[in-house]
Amino acid sequence: MAPITLTDASFDEEIGSADTAIIVDFWAEWCGPCKTIAPVLDEIAEEQAGKLRVGKVNVDDSPEVARRFEVMSIPTLIVFKDGQPKKRLVGAKGKGQLMSELSEFL
């Protein structure tokens, strides 16, 4: 399943109605490390379809959500389950490291 774009307007509804855990990637066009993890997140979205969704928040387009979750560094990845933030990862990481951080949600 392809990652879904979340915005200030759609964020609460999408997170609230998600039936699996969802990992939200706060990113921007001008952030180098964000670009290096984008393909990794695309792969995870495909491979973990049905178990974990991937959401993307562009902090330029949706500054409110980023502010609400006190994002001060990107990429920041926050895992939400049952509508609540459960885990926060700051900085780009390789797939292996990311998957071991996510194992508790799979």
Binding site: C31, K35, T36, P39, M72, I74, P75, A92, K95, Q97
Partner: protein
């Protein structure tokens, strides 16, 4: 057992990708271990992934951003058939040929190679404070281009006195209300042009002869404790963002006791070449250069390493039959 490669390139900054372009064009079918995503300079694309405008790389009249330059070099290497993999070398065995390189924890090596080019670059130094781990990504940052955006209207600081520190400070003035440059000496190490730009900028002020000795704040940075190195007095600087640019150390942990290095950990190469202390292993870029450390010098030594590797393979009869001679004149 996996296939033996002609050349494995470890690292994907300007040195590694230039070596990839040259060895790919010479039909050596190189594989490049690009490294793994991270928010430090130790990542695919290397240090330039964290910079903004690159104004001194020849060929770009109006400058180019670091990430764009690296994407272009990567595409150029791929165009000639270099295989680029997002993997990080975890262990090497250069004691006999073919050389062995691991990119995972398997007992079997991930790659075997007739020759190796090392271009793992250098990473940014941190302050070495206990508070760093707690506040990383919560006001403390290694990447001004990533995180400057979140400091709109804030008072922030940059630690360091070199070109990277000035570049970060100037970039951050686009967002911040004020940027304090904290430097341990009474003058900058940065190039004249960068110094002038920084001195001219109204938003930048300087705290000379000063070192950051502690960071305040539990879940977000609230201030930096700064010590005046001449008087020994400490004071608190109220900043909500702190960017560290105090220099680099080479990424050579992997090669300790394997290759000769100097006291600072830089790989030692034979003067005028890229030969390391092990025959068939070459080094290019910042991993072996603590003097120039420019994108263009890294690319230059990457080219040298490719040519050295190619000629070495030929001389040792290991080269494939269809090896293409690098033109000596164009």
């Amino acid at each position: 057992m996996n296939q033996v490669r002609n050349v494995v390139i470890i690292g994907s900054g300007p040195a590694g990708l230039t070596a990839a372009i040259y060895t790919a064009r010479a039909n050596l079918a190189p594989v490049v271990l690009e490294g793994e995503p991270s928010s430090t300079t130790d990542q695919p694309g290397g240090q330039l992934m964290l910079t903004t405008e690159v104004e001194n790389y020849p060929g770009f009249v109006d400058g180019i951003t670091g990430p764009e330059l690296m994407a272009t070099m990567r595409a150029q290497a791929a165009r000639f058939g270099a295989e680029l993999v997002v993997e990080k070398a975890t262990r090497v065995d250069f004691s006999c040929r073919p050389f062995k390189i691991w990119a995972d924890s398997d007992p079997e090596p991930t790659y075997q190679a007739l020759s190796v080019i090392i271009s793992t670059g250098a990473r940014s130094l941190m302050l070495g404070l206990d508070a760093e781990e707690r506040l990383m990504g919560r006001g403390l940052s290694t990447c001004a281009t990533c995180d400057g955006f979140f400091h709109r209207g804030s008072h922030i600081a940059v630690v360091g006195g070199g070109d990277s520190a000035m570049e970060e400070a100037l970039f951050l003035t686009k967002f911040a209300e004020s940027v304090t440059v904290i430097h341990r000496r009474d003058q900058l190490r940065a190039s004249k042009i960068m110094q002038e730009r920084a001195f001219k900028n109204d938003k930048i002020r300087f705290l000379w002869n000063s070192r950051v000795v502690d960071l305040l704040g539990e879940s977000a940075l609230e201030g930096a404790v700064v010590k005046d190195v001449t008087s020994g007095a400490t004071s608190t600087l109220d900043v909500t963002g702190l960017f560290v640019a105090i220099g680099h150390r080479p990424n050579t942990d992997l090669f300790r006791d394997v290759l000769d290095m100097d006291d600072a950990g830089y790989l030692v190469t034979r003067p005028g070449s890229t030969y390391t202390s092990v025959e068939g292993v070459f080094a290019a870029g910042d991993v072996q250069d603590h003097t120039y450390r420019q994108a263009v010098t890294a690319a230059g030594t990457g080219c040298m390493a490719a040519i050295d590797a190619e000629r070495w393979l030929e001389a040792h009869g290991d080269a494939p039959d269809d090896i293409a001679e690098t033109p000596t004149e164009w």
